[in-house]
Symmetry: D2
Subunit: 353 residues, 4 copies
Amino acid sequence: MTRVGVNGYGTIGKRVADAVAAQPDMELVGVTKTSPDYGAEAALRRGYDLYAALDDRAAAFEDAGLGVAGTLGDLLDAVDVVVDCAPSGVGERNRPTYEAHDTPAIYQGGEDAAIADASFNARASAEIRDADSLRVVSCNTTGLSRLLAPLDEAYGVEKARVTLVRRGGDPSETDRGPINDVVPDPATVPSHHGPDVNEILPDVSVDTAALKAPVTGMHTHSVNVTLEREPTTAEVRELLRGETRLFLIPEARHRRRRDLKDYASDLGRARGDFWENCVWEESISVEGRDLYLFQNVHQEADVVPENVDAIRELTTDVSREESMARTNEALGVGLDSLLSDGGSPRDQVAADD
Amino acid sequence: MTRVGVNGYGTIGKRVADAVAAQPDMELVGVTKTSPDYGAEAALRRGYDLYAALDDRAAAFEDAGLGVAGTLGDLLDAVDVVVDCAPSGVGERNRPTYEAHDTPAIYQGGEDAAIADASFNARASAEIRDADSLRVVSCNTTGLSRLLAPLDEAYGVEKARVTLVRRGGDPSETDRGPINDVVPDPATVPSHHGPDVNEILPDVSVDTAALKAPVTGMHTHSVNVTLEREPTTAEVRELLRGETRLFLIPEARHRRRRDLKDYASDLGRARGDFWENCVWEESISVEGRDLYLFQNVHQEADVVPENVDAIRELTTDVSREESMARTNEALGVGLDSLLSDGGSPRDQVAADD
Amino acid sequence: MTRVGVNGYGTIGKRVADAVAAQPDMELVGVTKTSPDYGAEAALRRGYDLYAALDDRAAAFEDAGLGVAGTLGDLLDAVDVVVDCAPSGVGERNRPTYEAHDTPAIYQGGEDAAIADASFNARASAEIRDADSLRVVSCNTTGLSRLLAPLDEAYGVEKARVTLVRRGGDPSETDRGPINDVVPDPATVPSHHGPDVNEILPDVSVDTAALKAPVTGMHTHSVNVTLEREPTTAEVRELLRGETRLFLIPEARHRRRRDLKDYASDLGRARGDFWENCVWEESISVEGRDLYLFQNVHQEADVVPENVDAIRELTTDVSREESMARTNEALGVGLDSLLSDGGSPRDQVAADD
Amino acid sequence: MTRVGVNGYGTIGKRVADAVAAQPDMELVGVTKTSPDYGAEAALRRGYDLYAALDDRAAAFEDAGLGVAGTLGDLLDAVDVVVDCAPSGVGERNRPTYEAHDTPAIYQGGEDAAIADASFNARASAEIRDADSLRVVSCNTTGLSRLLAPLDEAYGVEKARVTLVRRGGDPSETDRGPINDVVPDPATVPSHHGPDVNEILPDVSVDTAALKAPVTGMHTHSVNVTLEREPTTAEVRELLRGETRLFLIPEARHRRRRDLKDYASDLGRARGDFWENCVWEESISVEGRDLYLFQNVHQEADVVPENVDAIRELTTDVSREESMARTNEALGVGLDSLLSDGGSPRDQVAADD
């Protein structure tokens, strides 16, 4: 049983906390907050032990009527690994504390790659030995790694070129723009996303261009991969369908006005989270050696199963394959619609339960 | 045990189904769909019995790999009440079928008031006797009724004037606009929302003006009520705080970038649903006899507890008050944040569970 | 001939400059910019003399290839009045400079009312004597003053209650939000807009509530005015139709999907500017003593004719009525569509010119 | 002097009319509308002769107070060429009428390529002989043709891959979505835009993928071109800078929050129209043989100079080069900012006029 602490119960942290709590081989010892706000209240209502992230703020929690079990240091001393879910750049400031407590740490993709012994993606990372820290790559890099790894393994990737149309802000970030504009962000091309992918897949050549759009829900990728071989469209669809961390959105005739998060909610996922990349099945198309497709990445959620696998990577001898299977099982990752074209229903759903 | 059927497992229907299934005194016998699409698949995955809404489409379900337990007629014969959750206007077409099967029916607010024996709001409706059908009023009318009833009871309402800034489409309706525009909708004033409120509160004078905005999440109401008396701002806040179907969003210093649905999700609500009106506590303000406030209404969800209470109204002798208490208990309606100003925490949440 | 300088060639400043240049009794001596950017380039291309707003930046203009005629001080010495169009709050910092040069000044609505001898709206302000400075009220306050003045004069205003749905940012401000949200802004009610109106109409009781929406084009007002008398709807429409600074958008059957700025462009207005309030004619509705209507205010433009009239107010003996007529004539203010209901076409437009 | 008629005074038609009227070698004889609405009023206010597009509606114009000079047939008999600016697909219905009157016709890109003798782009089309009709390609295809032609001429294009992020609706189309979503449109890849480009450049291999975003102003293209040679980034920037129908947006340090249409308005362009592609100069980047860049296309305007050149192509012996020069001169096409990096100011703008 791996004992886990989450430092920073925010957008990512709260999801990682839930995911850890759902693993049979992990125990969520506690989560931290800097202030006694609604996130802190929500953590307590969920039954999580709350720790004050900053020593000098601990009293404020009590004053606000929220009980804490200790401070960050107390939490670090009680866990086998800490998952740092602080805002981008703050992980670097937290690192000395983790090291002082000798606590192995997992960082998020907003930190520089140099912060950890290795960057990590469960599907795509090569074997990692003797690491005391890992950095789970960003939502977009996670999405690209999961897609490019099987393509490179099966066909060889000569060059990947991806346009990322990113959401301007998360649903709860109501003050971020843009309004009524699609903005190159950055204006320079390529953006940093390609080099990020190379932290995971060093031999895959990737160029990325990024735009920001007035949406909040998900990032959308327009993907081109020039392959070394020429598979058929059907072959590529079959290959990707076999990936548990990719969900193929079946063709339009089975779905009308569809919101992916709405679908996820209908299937019982908390917050309508989509941990898998959502690939539009009908967009998968091979022209010569050029593969094209569209995929969506849920920026609040897709890194969550990766964090869970990173915990096992750091603290156990469980194989990558086994870890992914356990994570998928516990969270229900690996959607497969009954209505997919060409897919045989894996579980026949009857009228009665 | 009341046996319930839901005709139309859509945006409202799927939520009503879940709410009914959560009631200890109700049994969800089944739900219907017209086509074997993702909504139908989701119903089956949730363990609900699926019925074909249209007789001549039943075979299509089997062909698509989704088992049905029968047709609408079969469902009607097996229940004590049917909740019609078809698109606006379709309820009228369904009515003859319900009458032919002698099945008491509950309709939604998109139908004309004349469709049912009475319109219904749990908090605000006067006593209803001998009804065989009820019409739960629309999301906006529900929101206004819940607010105006206590105000009228406590102070008397001379005139209410409400500007409704409505969402252009639900999150899953990606083809509806507007983009980058706030549009009077309708251009004529007053809009129909006032008269709708009079179906519930016939003696309250209400004028409404409606706009449509490029948002998907919730409707926002800018409310003015000229009262017959002059309460203080604190008195009004206290009055509204006591209403279980109103949630007072505490003052800004406890909350930063906050998305109400995100908060609801954090508290464990499926789909981030908000069944309560969300009233900005700090907006509640009395100037002379004029009360002002802002409230949000979650159009996909606020009518759901009303439908549950309507079921008891139609099929049992349970008092309105008792029904609301049971519904609230089963669904967790009646949020009260630990961080509210002036509110004492009802349940002290400890650091340990 | 009044010699005018514009300090700050920005969103408002560039429009004021064009408007001044169009007046037969005014001369635009020059405009200022703080940096040699595209606004500065545009001023030069338009033929305006450019002055460096900050002395120590003058050289930067030459380096960038943009010739300047001097600094702010030089401009102040060459004009009879300066129109301060700096960002909100900066006018206060500029004031000492204007006073040091003995230059009468006009400020914008973003400055505190105390900055000037009086606040100003051409239609609604009472007579102003012996002022050396004026403050043209904000876009919203301008829009409300123009509407409430004739109503108060004709019927008496008992109480005005206005919900302002404001644009999140101007079209060129692509980094401002919100996205997908309508946000109370401020969350407290009433907002400051009512008191602003009282700087112009001290005896009119006004309560305002403000929201921010993800749009860029215009602000939308949902207006209620409780009058002291009971005019008919037709009477109110007639009264408002007679106001040159109000444009009544005729009923829907004459217009389909219509963008007001597009319409303004079609009529030859630069930038698609709407100097007039745009009142939806069909929304004008009287219920008892309650008047309701919707109006849009173009935040980039409606204060412009007010600035022109303020110049005459400060520097000449021209009567308010005469000034408004000159301003309207020179700019083409006072739209009257040929397709208005109840309006007789003022100029019969023939097939041939 | 070529006599021109515009059939359909809408979004494109009104701009084509203005552009034709500005040409010294063309005469705009008249424009048509189907109904006496605000567009019709605007045409008359601008001094254009108005014709009823449909014979049986002519009386309605007079009834509405708008004088017409005749019907479509009358206009066709009075012109040397008609520019069809009807909604997509309607041009095909109009064609027989043009042919019956023996009037050479220019169609827009929304019609099938087969409607005309040839598709047309001034910069990129090969020589066209003996045509009686032309089809000006769509806004996106126009934008792509202008960019790919010089690249193919200078370096050879091996493969172009473009992601088009299109606006959901024009500013005046307030009922079109999406809201808060970026939607593959179509979901299949490649989209039709590539084949459209091949109507102009048959030998250039182009794959396109298209998305729809909740914006109204412009389309944004994320472009990759694999070239046959390896120019430097500077060489490509220089090449593109020399194209009159491409505008290079200089680097960010000269511009802050910038709206391109706002900039166009500041430079005196009616409606803030951008006839040129807007290429982000700093996005132009060559990696090996892969060129990347972002460009915006103003969907309401970029086809306008193309229509003017198409008129000369059809009705005169003027060379393509000469026509483009005349069109550019008359409309002011070919923006070149004084603040461009590496560009020498073509016209030194002085402080005085």
